[in-house]
Amino acid sequence: MAAHFQSQSDDDLLTTDDAEAFGMFYDRHVHSVLGYFARRTGEPERAADLTAETFASALAARRRYRPGGAPAVAWLFAIAARRLADYHRRGRVDARAQRVLAMEPVPLGAEDAEMVRMLGEDTAVSLLSGLPADQRAAIRWHVVDDRSYGEIAADQRVSEQVVRQRVSRGLAALRARMGGSR
């Protein structure tokens, strides 16, 4: 079953009514999400909690995901950015989506914590470092900081279409590197 899903796109995985499909989507992106949170919180435990809540939120919201718009990975990181903003606002990780889904908290062992710390140091940096500077910046502003295309365009004094193009091309390149270029 897992091999069957390996050949499917992120869009297919999110729109397939199969639990294992979401597992495959998780497999593809969990490391980059962990790294994203590890870099921003500096705490492996918080990064793990936020990662769990992000994927739980994605699972709860996947029926609202519409293929053809923003890439699935951008959709996922938009959720991640919102969970991070919630965390900064409240000072704690609210596990609401996990509670709604009746998920059990997953403890983070010492070795796992070290792994998360390393992901924070390496993963995103190495993924983004190979992108052209304009694409790297556009992705960071739009996907990571959750700013709108129009806002970035006004700030950079370019058209909104240009910003969309940079984000789209950058994410396509990232997907290709992560093995999800479908």
Partner: protein, 354 residues
Amino acid sequence: MSAYIAELRRELVDAAERERRRSAPRRALARSRRPLALGLASAAVVLAAVLGIAVLGRNAPEPVPAAPRIVATIRVGGQPLDGTIGAGSVWIADGTGRVLRVDPRSRRVVARIPAGSQVTAIAASGDAVWAVTSIRLNVHGHQVVGIDPTSDRVVTHVLPTAAFGRLLEVAGGTVWVQSDMQAGGPLQRVDKRKDRIVGDFGRSWRSAIAGQGDVLWTLDVNGVLERRDAATGRLLARRPGFAAGQAPTAIAPAGRGAWVATGEDGAVTRVTDDLKVRDRVELGARGPMAVTDGSLWVTTVDAKGINVELVRLDPGTGQVLGRLRLGARLPRALVAVGDEVWAVIGDGTVLVIR
């Protein structure tokens, strides 16, 4: 793959599967409704007018409880051995010779009561808490102590007439103990006026006793199931050979009957008040059980003896309503606290599960 990433994946896939099952009937119903919607709407108007609105919903299914989850973890310390509820509190034998009093609302330890020596079993009623403690200087090795909930102090010491172990229950205002478990001794009770253990209510190698209201259920290793008047000890019903050879381990009264767990086949079986067998479910039952408001909770362990799960069942039918993985955390006791079950774990924690 790291343990964390693998475990989170399992949680997500399980949650996705639960969502899929939950939404499938709704989607199927929505599909089937469309062609009939207009006709049904008309019929509903007529029916409502004829029968009255109150009829609607009579056949609606009972709400299914949500999948079980841990809602809080209480760190009590020590190596807890047993737990019970009574006198408005949850009481934990912490494995270090103390009885802990926990407020069920705040979930905080509000008193730590020295019992004098190791507490191996604990039971409570509305106005008293009783514990089995070990004593070195007595030839029988154990005694029963009574704790006064108003002062949080041990106020009664009851010496046994024969050795006994963990079996202790309070029901019908009477404290029951199984004496001389090594030799199939008698079921006895505590005479509170004389602070003595007295009586002989049948000799047997009992493996479980449990009370509910005015009824005391007992079960022995040969599968003899008994139902007694908890106040007097009078035998109400007896069924020999029930689950013979299946190593009965636990009994949980529920409604007009009880559920019995058998370790050999890992099954739980529902028996009625007149000891007739009704439902049987094979789960891998290997530990304590408890009945909360609307749920039977059964501790299960997989065939490798590694992974522990708490399974929630409908106490009326035995239908499995949900499962909660506990990993290696095997509950020493399950305490029913309203609609929550508190799992007493040997690592010094109590898991509050709903």
